[in-house]
């Protein structure tokens, strides 16, 4: 029996998607279904004085219009990602309670916030009706920037708060004050990471229906977190979780943007329940850019202490995260940023102070990488600038401070978000970096760079390194059963949004049970089938659900042998298992196949397992980018891209490669073009894909990806998460390349995205190097 794990088998989910037979929420239809459309605030910050819905209600085809006060008994959206209680004292956490109304009633806090909802026979009519609703606002001064949010005399988003800081915390390690006193060289800088978003190609969508027979509510949502949605919804509706089934059908990308519970996801099921009719809401792209979560948007003031030989002694960083109007995942992103900051480098002392700031913008939340790309951008830029100040080659500075292979497991000296110590379990950072530089041929690059500069062409090389905690808990459950036809069904809550779980989970299950892939069916993300679970985000599914499926599969094999031995009237010790068939070792013809066993045993052939990882496992890697910059136009062209990734054991190498490269190109987008922009009044200036640019196929450079497999020591299969890894270094490496290319101009690159306008500005503001 060949091994399924490690094999690049083609995906089993492809055929339906390639033939138009996928079933996304928008594709679902029900008899008597109503379509919802939301009226959204045009004001970023205003009191709502009145709403006149009479004309909308009178439009033929409209079934009803609801405002906040008419959603009687419906609760609010609750925050996620609140730090565990034990973290509070350690991190000196201060946080303020908040919740988001399903529809804004008294006050609107961002342009796009839902104010009213229309249900109609079709979406066209619902949209017509929304246009007929009249809202009278009493405008308040909008808080558009973090600077404005922090002004003590400025407006506040929540009247009862003295300021707009939702949360703040500190992370400390070692004697950081002494590190700066004893330093030979201190390098400091301010860096900003722009506001972007994930742009899954499928916008958000939800459909809710009531089962006529038992009154149970079923909610279909393009969500990454069916269980959190069920929990929040049950609380908001005031019913038991058991009365609600949440299922994620085919989902067209998520990247963290569908990892939130949104107001629309409470309102639509509420109305379906109230009217006892199916209700569907499908978001359009402008609504998506206006209201689905944004991300990044950080400003850092950082300094690093070095000995003159380049040894890093300490880092001090104060940073601010613009969370928009509601901090959906609380300190999650800021904590990830802080705990990723020193990454693969030894840093004996550190002090980070983080602030989560509210502004009158769309709520922000984790997006692929969730705080880590920000940290890597800030630190790698600082290292490049430090190398210059220290007079040390920037690659050597990195090598000098890198944690070495023989130091694993390595205790980074602080706590992870899950309240356990950050101990890197396996990997080899300096080996990653050496492999990367071997591919690059640095010496040849330097010669070429010099030669081209003489021709007036500017190329640069940027590098970045990362470490990422992946496979976060608390757990995922798998239920593996033999069906009456002798095939096996494995079900888990961690649903795919394109990651290919149907194939990779089947590979894991097939490995455990020594079966073929076509004998296994994978069911995902349906609380009606697996009643408890978490979801797919934070590079966790392969690690947590994968290991749960494997353990359940192994358990099922033992159960099959035990029950088969009973049927065969032999001692289980005399029973052998091979590809689903159990036989007597004494008489191999005395055997029973899975189907026969299923006929005989029925429901007994089910085993479930919950995998609780003790803590995360650490993936790592290094990226290098060669870019050409035109100083006159600000145009950046990426000519080559090299990457080395420690992926842990790979279930399906082709799928892993696809995840990494997909994330790299998103990272190029965040480095060069993607930017959510707001006007002075707090209105979105990038409401379509014409203004919000994302990479096209022309953004794809030649890529050389080298994968190494240091199996995790924290799970049976040796897996590490891979969904986010590719994006973490990308913007930092591109920024390093742009800065290096513009070195003759002494242009400072301290902000992403590096749009052409911003690159030109950097060149214009720089003082050219005097050639001696």
């Amino acid at each position: 029996m060949s091994s399924w794990i490690g094999k690049s088998v083609k995906r089993t989910e492809d055929k339906k998607l390639l033939t138009g037979k996928g079933q996304f929420v928008a594709d679902m239809k029900r008899e008597g279904m109503l379509h919802a459309c939301f009226l959204r605030s045009t004001e970023a910050h205003a009191l709502i004085a009145g709403i006149d819905t009479a004309k909308a209600r009178g439009l033929p085809g409209v079934v009803g219009v609801w405002t906040a006060e008419e959603l009687e008994g419906l609760g609010y959206v609750e925050p996620m990602g609140v730090l565990p209680a034990g973290m509070h004292e350690i991190s000196r956490l201060k946080r303020r309670e908040w919740s988001q109304p399903p529809l804004a009633g008294e006050k609107t806090r961002f342009a796009g916030e839902p104010i009213a909802v229309v249900l109609a026979e079709n979406r066209y009519i619902a949209e017509d009706a929304v246009e007929l609703i009249e809202v009278s606002y009493v405008p308040l001064q909008p808080v558009v920037t973090m600077r404005a949010a922090l002004e003590s005399s400025g407006p506040k988003l929540f009247d009862e708060w003295p300021d707009n800081i939702q949360a703040e915390f500190v992370i400390e390690k070692g004697d950081w004050k002494r590190a700066f006193l004893e330093a030979d060289v201190v390098v400091e800088g301010s860096y900003s990471v722009g506001r972007i978003t994930g742009i899954p190609m499928e916008c958000r969508g939800i459909m809710a229906e009531i089962d006529e027979d038992d009154g149970r509510l079923t909610v279909w949502s393009a969500t990454q977190i069916p269980y959190d949605l069920r929990g929040n919804l049950a609380k908001a509706l005031g019913c038991a979780s058991e009365e609600i089934r949440v299922a994620a059908p085919d989902v067209g990308g998520g990247f963290g943007i569908k990892d939130n519970v949104y107001p629309e996801e409470l309102v639509v099921p509420y109305l379906a329940k109230k009217l006892r009719r199916p209700v569907k809401w499908i978001e359009d792209r402008t609504e998506h850019l206006l209201t689905a979560s944004h991300a990044r948007d950080q400003q850092h003031r950082i300094r690093a202490a070095f000995r003159k030989d380049g040894t890093l002694l300490g880092i001090e960083d104060e940073f601010y995260v613009d969370c928009g109007a509601y901090n959906l995942w609380e300190t999650c992103v800021a904590y990830n940023t802080a705990s990723s900051m020193s990454g693969p480098y030894r840093c004996p002392a550190l002090f980070y102070r983080a602030y989560d700031i509210l502004t009158n913008k769309t709520p922000a939340a984790p997006y692929r990488g969730a705080g880590r790309p920000e940290a890597v951008f800030v630190l790698e830029r600082l290292l490049d600038e430090s190398a210059k100040k220290l007079g040390i080659d920037r690659m050597e500075l990195r090598r000098k401070n890198m944690i070495q292979g023989d130091e694993f497991p390595y205790d980074a000296g602080i706590l992870y978000r899950d309240q356990t110590r950050m101990v890197y379990d396996s990997g080899n950072f300096s080996e990653n970096f050496d492999k990367l530089m071997d591919q690059v041929d640095y010496a040849e690059f330097l010669r070429e760079q010099q030669r081209l500069r003489e021709e007036g062409k500017y190329i640069g090389l940027g590098v970045a390194n990362f470490v990422e905690g992946t496979g976060v808990g608390p757990y995922e459950k798998a239920v593996v059963s033999v069906l009456p036809d002798g095939t096996v069904r494995a079900a888990t809550g961690a649903a795919s949004q394109g990651q290919g779980h149907k194939t990779t989970f089947a590979q894991v299950c097939a490995q455990a049970l020594e079966l073929d892939l076509d004998q296994i069916d994978i069911i995902e993300g349906d609380t009606g089938i697996v009643p408890d679970g978490i979801g797919t985000f934070a590079s966790r599914s392969a690690v947590v659900a994968g290991n749960a499926i494997y353990a359940a599969g192994i358990g099922l094999k033992a159960r099959i042998i035990e029950l088969a031995a009973e049927r065969l009237l032999i001692d289980p010790k005399e029973a052998a298992y091979e590809r689903g068939t159990v036989y007597s070792v004494r008489n191999p013809d005395h055997k029973i196949r899975l189907k026969e066993l299923a006929d005989a045993c029925g429901d007994d052939l089910t085993v479930s397992n919950s995998f609780h990882p003790g803590t995360t496992t650490y993936a790592s890697g290094a990226h290098a980018v060669l870019a050409e910059v035109e100083p006159a136009t600000g145009k950046v062209t990426i000519k080559r891209y090299w990457a080395v990734h420690d992926t842990g054991k790979q279930i399906n190498p082709k799928v892993v490669t696809g995840q990494i490269i997909g994330a790299m190109i998103q990272g190029i987008g965040s480095a060069l073009m993607e930017e959510i922009q707001y006007g002075e009044e707090g209105r979105l200036k990038t409401p379509t894909l014409k203004e919000y640019l994302v990479p096209s196929i022309f953004s794809l450079p030649p890529i050389e990806l080298h994968k190494v497999e240091y199996p995790s020591t924290r799970n049976t299969l040796g897996l590490k998460g891979t969904g986010e890894a590719g994006i973490i270094c990308a913007a930092a490496a591109v920024a390093g390349a742009v800065a290096d290319a513009l070195e003759p101009f002494r242009a400072e690159i301290r902000e992403i995205p590096m749009t052409p306008a911003r690159v030109r500005e950097a060149v214009k503001n720089a003082s050219p190097l005097t050639i001696n």
Binding site: D14, T19, G252, T688, L689
Partner: protein, 161 residues
């Protein structure tokens, strides 16, 4: 609600369809809502993402930007019409399958239809021609690498290479 409607005739994936559509329905909504052909996806409804691309009389069209009534009398090819007669994947679909040219699959119909148009006029496109043809379609999952490889494989096959 009595919406203003019109009766139109479309030849969709080789089958003649007489349908009644509200005059303001886009072709995408006509296909999806009236004909239940939900393989055509809406990713932006502004004409930028290309997910809703179908072929009308052989030419690629953003079905979110065309009204259904404008297609009266036309032949329309959608993703549902691409597979071989026996239901097996066409060489183009097969190439996407083999080269990991899709992940979530939401943008895939638009890519396949745009690629179909390219190959109908050029059986052996160069990498630059492939990029040019696909530059109006956005994929957010694959980073385009798998798509490019699939296109190269399909080009090789369609040119008999």
């Amino acid at each position: 609600m009595s919406e203003l409607t019109r009766n139109i005739v479309l030849n969709v994936n080789g089958t003649k369809q007489e349908i009644t559509v509200p005059v303001r329905y886009t072709l995408a909504d006509g296909l999806r809502e009236v004909l239940d052909l939900t393989g055509t996806h809406l990713g932006c409804e502004h004409g930028f993402c290309g997910a809703c691309t179908v072929l009308v009389d052989g030419r690629s069209v953003r079905s979110c930007l065309m009204l259904a009534v404008q297609a009266d009398g036309c032949s329309v090819l959608t993703i549902e019409g691409l597979a071989n007669a026996d239901g097996s994947l066409s060489p183009l679909q097969q190439a996407f399958h083999e080269q990991h040219g899709l992940q979530c699959g939401f943008c895939t119909p638009g890519f396949l239809m745009t690629a179909t148009e390219l190959f109908s006029g050029n059986s052996n496109p160069t990498e630059e021609e492939i990029k040019e043809a696909l530059s109006g379609n956005i994929c957010r999952c694959t980073g385009y690498q798998g798509i490019l490889e699939a296109m190269k494989q399909a080009a090789l096959q369609s040119s008999g290479g």
